[in-house]
Amino acid sequence: MSSPARTRRRPDTVDPIPWWLKVVGGLVIAFFILPTLFVIPMSFSSATTFQFPPPGFSWRLYENFFTNPVWLDSLGNSFLVASLTAVLATTVGTAAAVALSRLDGRAARFVRTLLMVPIVSPAIVVAVAVYISFLGWRLTGTVTGYVLAHTAIAVPYVLVSVTGALGGFDQRLLKASASLGASPLTSFVRVTLPLISRGVLTGGIFAFIVSFDEVVIALFLRSPLFQTMPVQMYNSVTVEIDPTISAASSLMVVAVTIIFILPLLLRGRAGSRQEPRP
């Protein structure tokens, strides 16, 4: 650095970021992060209400969550539905994405847009339509009903994720594979799938979370015998005033965060592969 005698105090750049902009940025960051953080201290509360700040420390809410069959069953149901949804949506969505990547023209564009409709339709409208139909088909309150409805709204996420991975996929590889004697199916399994695997995996994780966290459709499809965890959480604030929801929420926040960070880590680890980010 130059000597103090020669150096005059000046801002480093002509166009520094104004202080008020940093303040607004800080406020927005707080707005993004803080609400979620309130859930965690609440989960160690000794109160039987939603009182904040918590009057004392206790593991009681977690104890209740892991011993109360109502909570445990709903957690199990959610896992079941989300796992089946992830498998089904990933299969269906990947097939569609691969097919669409080889097609172009008006019809293909239309189909692509059509498949995105569940994502842009208000969840409540989908829920009402599904509810009315499923009543007639006796699918409300069934695992099949939940999985079908959740798969329909999860497919677009898989489609986007796999399409992203296919963006960097060289279609000539398939011609090469065919010229070397592979059938289309073999080519898909041995060439396409390994190269888009991260997109498929990301899509599957998305599908799992979409289902695991879905509450609007689940509220309509619930039955006294079968309900998912978000629905049980909904009940606990509307009907029961059961603070166990704070334990459930904290677990959800931690679990979803881990699941979301997983693809980031995978992406980092396999960074040398030539695939665009999904």
């Binding site: 650095m1 130059s2 020669r6 150096t7 005059r8 000046r10 801002p11 480093d12 750049t13 002509v14």
Partner: protein, 377 residues
């Protein structure tokens, strides 16, 4: 020294001295990296002068231009315009025109709106704006395209609009940051002519940044050659080419045959690989003299080629060489040579008519001592 008093005293029209003096003293820009981007530069650009800042990328020439424009803040030193210190004046109050490599035309405005922009910022009246815009668009030969958007124009036309926008408000000086870098060769040379013409007509100080030595030689009144954040040499293109002070200057401008010297001054002669060569004192650069740490530079066009020693005139400096390749350049031929025992790479320019050199020929190359230059290596 102040311009204002000079004009008043002589009472001459503005045209006699329209330019602005730009003075850099101890100018330094340090980003906190290993070395400062610009390291203690002092340079005075005369009023109305066309000064080119030349140098390889990363040599600090663009940073210097941005410091003059006010787009970067100084770490140390001062910059003054006509004697007034502007070091702490923000760019929009410096009244300097700037031309960017990628034109930086506002895409949401028409040509006329772009050109009118600086006048609007200065609250010029509507009619005056219309008059000046028309005038300057005529100067850059773009009349009638007022309502077009920049994206509809070719690269060359866009740069003309940018030029019009940069001079319409009669700035104290025009700063040009590699303005022709994005254009193809023919367009480049056409716009070089154009810029020279406009410099003559407008008469204000131009500071032009480029890494292209031909462009610099073609345009500039004087060149400031940058290297590693410092100015290597300042002078007219001819001075820099014919009288380089350092090996860097010699190599950056044009081709050179370079003979690095390992021994001290032998009293009017130097030794290189056993050859003894005469020295003309007028060709020795002031610093650091003849000897270890200096080098002899000879331009290819000053090198003559002979079949043997006996064809070399008395008093010429000679060395044996082998022809490695011959390049036919149309108006001349270039012989690529391996010179001396260790096969130093060299070039000689010969007439295009001399087609009688073959690869592998042993020759002797020679030059007059006054054609060589002894510089700091």
């Amino acid at each position: 020294m102040t311009r204002q008093t000079t004009v008043e005293v002589t009472g001459s029209p503005r045209e006699t001295k329209r330019g602005t003096e730009i003075r850099l003293e101890g100018v330094t820009k340090d980003y906190g990296l290993a070395a400062p981007a610009v390291d203690d530069i002092s340079l005075t650009i005369e009023p109305g002068e066309f000064m080119t800042l030349l140098g390889p990328s990363g040599s600090g020439k663009t940073t210097t231009l941005n410091l003059i424009a006010g787009f970067e803040t100084l770490t140390a030193g001062t910059i003054s315009l006509d004697g007034a210190d502007v070091s702490d004046v923000p760019p929009h109050r410096r009244n300097l025109g700037m031309l960017f490599q990628n034109y930086a035309l506002f895409p949401h405005m028409t040509i006329a709106q772009n050109v009118a922009y600086p006048l609007r910022q200065r609250k010029v009246g509507k009619q005056e704006i219309a008059r000046k815009v028309a005038e300057v668009l005529e100067l850059v030969q773009l009349t009638g395209r007022d309502d077009t958007h920049p994206s509809k124009l070719s690269g060359g036309q866009q740069q003309r609009v940018a030029l019009a926008r940069a001079i319409v408000f009669e700035p104290k000086a025009l700063l040009l940051d590699e303005p022709l870098g994005a254009l193809d060769r023919n367009l480049r040379s056409a716009l070089q002519t154009e810029i020279r013409r406009i410099h003559r007509e407008v008469g204000s100080t131009f500071v032009f940044v480029t890494h292209d030595q031909e462009e610099a030689m073609n345009l500039a009144d004087r060149i400031a050659l940058f290297n590693n954040g410092r100015i290597e040499q300042v002078g007219t293109p001819q001075q820099l080419y014919a009288e380089p002070e350092t090996l860097f200057t010699a190599r950056f401008l044009g081709d050179s045959n370079v003979f690095e010297l390992g021994q001290a001054d032998l009293g009017g002669a130097v030794a290189w690989e056993g050859e003894s060569w005469g020295v003309d004192p007028a060709t020795v650069a002031a610093h650091p003299g003849v000897g270890k740490g200096s080098a002899i530079v000879v331009r290819p066009e000053d090198v003559e080629v002979a079949a043997g020693r006996d064809a070399v005139p008395v008093g010429a400096n000679a060395v044996r060489a082998a022809v490695r390749d011959v390049e036919y350049m149309g108006s001349y031929r270039t012989l690529l040579l391996t010179i001396g025992d260790r096969g130093l790479f060299g070039r000689a320019r010969v007439s295009a008519l001399r087609g009688d050199y073959a690869i592998g020929d042993d020759v002797v190359v020679w030059w007059r001592p006054r054609a060589q230059r002894i510089v700091a290596a």
